[in-house]
Symmetry: C2
Subunit: 639 residues, 2 copies
């Protein structure tokens, strides 16, 4: 029988009842589903019971109110606890909890996803919820300037992930005092004790060394939890994130499993669940809600750590007009990226930019100079960079994040989880391929197209000149899901007049005629090589069609199929990428899916491990330069 109590009157005895209910419901839901993590839920039930009744300021009927606090389960496997909380506040029914958890077509998934309106981000890959929370807290402090707090529940196993320490580093650097981490230290990981176990002083030293204020408590002492949360929220003028470091017991509340190995990720069999529920005082149906946030206006703009050199000085306000480059003018697409961001930022104040300490290479620094208040330096921490972009996206900001394309591989798990979170992320990777030359293979992205194409719902763009870059950056701002822009280190001549349109999913017939004998397909730097090849072939009397495949995903199947048809199926695709999963695969997949026949496709790609050299030398060595494209075309025509 449901009862509702007013937040101001919820005593700790009722909170204790609620904690028991959360445990019981965690057990019931996982047993009914036949899978899930009851014991990992039970260790944190007391923390959550105190939080939701007394400290979380949240309007459950309006989950998207800007003033709401945020609650992120970084330990996403404790989903039974989260969903039991949702039942306890009355937004999920008993029926949904018991019959929807982990079932096909239902929204109470095995690990939380934002299909649920009270969930900000998908978690379940450990060590991501806290970095995501740093992004939300950055938005709260510097952009929304609203007093909401970000509460993150972490497990202890996930504290071994380096991304957690990237998050603490940035949280303290940016003074995110409204970030509160509830660390559920239950000692046991999936298969035994964690590396730090119950050595809470060791955790405390690490967290303090990374700039956090740490309150160590018994995570099952409701009064201690309440006091720690009061302390965590009492002094917003502090400049540190707070950790409530809670010593807890896995399986707490059911003596048969408490602090025992072998019960991670296992639901209790029905008879055992019955004993547990009895021990916990039976099924309850309390419905309790805590405080609702007061309306608030954005506060004053806070000081923000800056990475701008003092001599950067004040810039004239950019106009917002898209930058223009002349046909034939040499421009690096990475420079055009920076220019385009500035124009976009002038037109839309929800545009924010992040970079991994290479903004003078990616040209994100153009934006930094123009809009320092909307730039977040993530230093060399690519995982946190993508996570912060995710958190900023949760708050509705249009985040662009950049680094060398090769180093986005560092954040692949975060990008993948961003897709599951359903957030819109704009990623830009510079210095792609062997074209970068002297720096060598560690700096050469040769897997990035494959990696980004494989992300669900992603958009992969690869412009060849300044004009197309500007158009595609603008398009990214309006593109849902994960979008990726690959930029080039060197400057190449402009191909398109300012203002030319580049729709996502399109392509450009850069050269074509009725007598075309072969199709040459390139993107980015290899488009310039394909054009060079077309010149060579033309001098030999061979007419080549050249396609700028700037939209690698979605790819322009119609134009590709028409070109195949028109040129006897003879196609040369050249890319500055390993052979698997990139432009060549996109073209091959599209043509086969379209049922194209009579195909004679030659795929030029980087098939060996490159070393240093000039870009020209390496494009030739890899066999993706104009000469090799022309030779491949000749061979197709001879064949």
């Amino acid at each position: 029988m449901a009862t509702t109590e007013d937040a101001s009157t919820i005593g700790l005895d009722t909170v204790a009842d609620l904690a028991a209910q959360l445990r019981v419901d965690s057990i019931r839901s996982s047993t009914s589903a036949g899978s899930g993590h009851p014991t990992s839920s039970m260790s944190a039930a007391d923390l959550l019971a105190v939080l939701i009744t007394r400290h979380l300021h949240y309007d459950w009927d309006q989950p998207h109110r800007p003033v709401n606090d945020h609650l992120i389960f970084s330990k996403g496997h404790a989903s039974p606890l989260l969903y039991s909380v949702f039942k306890a506040v009355g937004v999920v029914s008993e029926d949904e909890l018991m019959n929807g958890y982990r079932r096909f077509g239902q929204r109470l998934e095995g690990h939380p996803t934002p299909i649920l309106p009270w969930v900000d981000v998908a978690t379940g890959s450990l060590g991501q919820g806290l970095p995501d929370g740093v992004g939300v807290a950055l938005a709260g402090k510097y952009l929304d300037r609203l007093p909401y707090r970000v509460w993150v529940l972490t497990g202890d196993s996930e504290l071994a992930e380096g991304s957690i320490w990237e998050a603490f580093d940035k949280a303290s650097y940016y003074g995110l005092s409204r970030l509160v981490v509830m660390a559920d230290i239950n000692r046991l990981g999936q298969r035994g004790q964690t590396d730090v176990g119950w050595n809470l002083p060791e955790y405390q030293r690490r967290m303090e060394a990374f700039g956090a204020r740490v309150l160590t408590i018994d995570g099952h002492d409701l009064a201690a939890i309440d006091q720690a949360m009061t302390e965590a929220t009492g002094d917003a003028s502090g400049s540190q994130p707070t950790v409530i470091l809670a010593k807890t017991i896995k399986g707490k509340g059911f003596s048969e499993v408490e602090n025992k190995d072998g019960w991670h990720g296992k639901p209790f069999p029905p008879e055992m669940a019955e004993r547990a529920i009895a021990q916990l005082g039976g099924v309850r149906n309390l419905v309790l809600r805590g405080p609702v946030p007061a309306a608030a206006e954005p506060g004053p703009v806070p000081d923000k750590p800056t990475t701008l050199a003092p001599e950067a000085g004040q810039q004239a306000k950019p106009s917002g007009a898209p930058p223009e480059y002349a046909v034939g003018e040499k421009v690096e697409t990475r420079k055009a990226y920076g220019d385009a961001l500035v124009a976009l930022g002038a037109r839309d104040d929800r545009i924010v930019v992040l970079d991994g300490e290479v903004s003078n290479s990616t040209f994100a620094e153009e934006f930094t100079r123009a809009f320092p208040e909307r730039y977040f330096e993530m230093f060399i921490a690519e995982q946190q960079m993508v996570a912060a972009a995710t958190g900023l996206a949760v708050r509705g900001y249009t985040a662009f994040a950049s680094t060398f394309a090769a180093f986005l591989t560092r954040a692949y798990d975060f990008i993948r989880m961003g897709a599951i979170s359903g957030v819109d992320l704009r990623l830009a990777g510079s210095h792609a391929g062997v074209e970068i030359g002297a720096d060598g293979p560690s700096q050469m992205a040769l897997e990035d197209l494959a990696m980004m194409r494989a992300v669900h719902g992603s958009t992969v763009l690869y412009p060849s000149d300044g004009t197309s870059t500007v158009a595609l950056v603008d398009a990214m701002a309006a593109t849902p899901g994960i979008s990726y822009l690959r930029t080039t280190r060197g400057g190449y001549p402009g191909l398109y007049p300012a203002g030319e349109q580049f729709p996502v999913g399109g392509s450009k017939l850069v050269r074509s005629g009725d007598a075309d004998q072969v199709t040459l397909i390139g993107a980015g730097v290899t488009l310039h090589e394909a054009l060079g090849a077309a010149d060579i072939l033309q001098a030999e009397g061979i007419a080549a069609r050249v396609i700028d495949c700037y939209s690698v995903k979605p790819v322009d199947t119609r134009t590709l199929a028409a070109a195949a048809e028109a040129t006897g199926g003879r196609i040369v695709v050249a890319e500055d990428h390993h052979p698997e999963g990139g432009l060549g695969s996109a073209v091959a997949d599209a043509l086969l899916a379209a049922g194209a026949q009579n195909l004679h496709l030659t795929h030029l790609a980087v098939r060996e491990m490159p070393g240093s050299g000039t870009g020209e030398e390496l494009l030739a060595w890899a066999g993706v330069d104009a000469d090799h494209i022309a030779a491949a075309a000749r061979k197709l025509l001879a064949g």
Copy 2:
């Protein structure tokens, strides 16, 4: 004019000369190349001058002597310094330094790679050299049991990478007292001050909290460096890694650039280089070598932290005979992976295993129980796991590392760099695809095949039953480069008799006949679905050829092309993976490269974002189950 001095007599005045030479040569080589990082080299020159003359025990004429110390430049961009060291010890000539650095076809690449025999691992993606060094030190302490030290030079910018803290955590957990980190704290990153700047106490607190002994010094005081290195190496009985935390000045030695912004990654123009060289006392050609290691026998087996539950007890010594499974017997391929590791480990004592705290899911724990001394628990730190495997491979061990396939995305940058390092890494990812069911998308690898295929020289394997798993695990032990095994959560019936051969690059015609009308291609779980589809079709009078494409890369082009030819080009490929870059792409790329004609290829893959459910429900939902494969085949035949 070259001079050679005996190690025992090298005074600090000579070391100072050497340090000046290293700076001058760093300047000369980068100026001659027109790119590179002289200032990042100059800050660490004093550390290296003292190290190589007095503390590094290394036989430069026999770089592969097992007793040699190891020197890893985690700040790989300081390659001018490393190559100047190589000149100073007489293994690289003046000519090579001045004319080979960063040039095409030469071995002094922009960032160090093991093309050079004195380089263990490729660096240049920051935050990786230290984790790699942890792997080498693990080998030294627990496997080689030799007294060599691992010296790692880190920059300060890279201390923002979470992987650095994963490394410190594991170095202290495993008591790697012979790991010495030289942290070059020169304050300046690529585009300005690092987030911690010259706040050395803050770094010291962090490192100490993570279990290191920290010696903070002036990194330009040769006597202080010498004393710190003496202290670092004096007491090997300690259990902590040591950090020599050196306050340094970027560009040290040339007043025009010292501690100045704007000089990261920029060679000095020739006239400026001349001024710098003059200020540093001109060009020198000292050739100096430090101590050579004494011969040593492996020491006693040290205690090693164990994650085995006490009740694991002593196991009977496994026989080494490959495990056998009956045709029709249901077995999870992940279980077969664990069984196969045990047999392999019994036959070859250089087999070592690592896991990311999920060994009871990946079944790596079978090996842990049998050979605890050769198992390294990396807890939930996938980057460090792959890096440790890399370091173990450097010392000649055959390392297998496993976690959920989805979480290998966390380590993609490390895998990519492993390929550049030329090490042999064996990676196993369990719980692939929607087949895992209830846990939801965060745990479902749906990008792993694309990610692994795009790695240079990789081998990608995906067995469908116990017998093929055992054969492929054995094959991996003998496979150079990066090899990847994808395993499945659920148990499926054995298809092959024990002892059947599964060569890398091969495939199996599981069903075939002269009258085959359509080819069905699957791997892993979808092979079982393809067989189900063949049954359905057979009942309708349609003969289907079924191919087990267990070797996704390299793929068996000949068998695929022959099947296409035999079945009128009608092919259905089904995979439990996103559509891009996986099995379907491998098949499409191969057929087009082979010039196959008249293709009618239907590609079934996971095209939407999955939720929870049973494996069966989700395979059906994704359209990759037997019914959908049969329907696709019918449509091809109708078309």
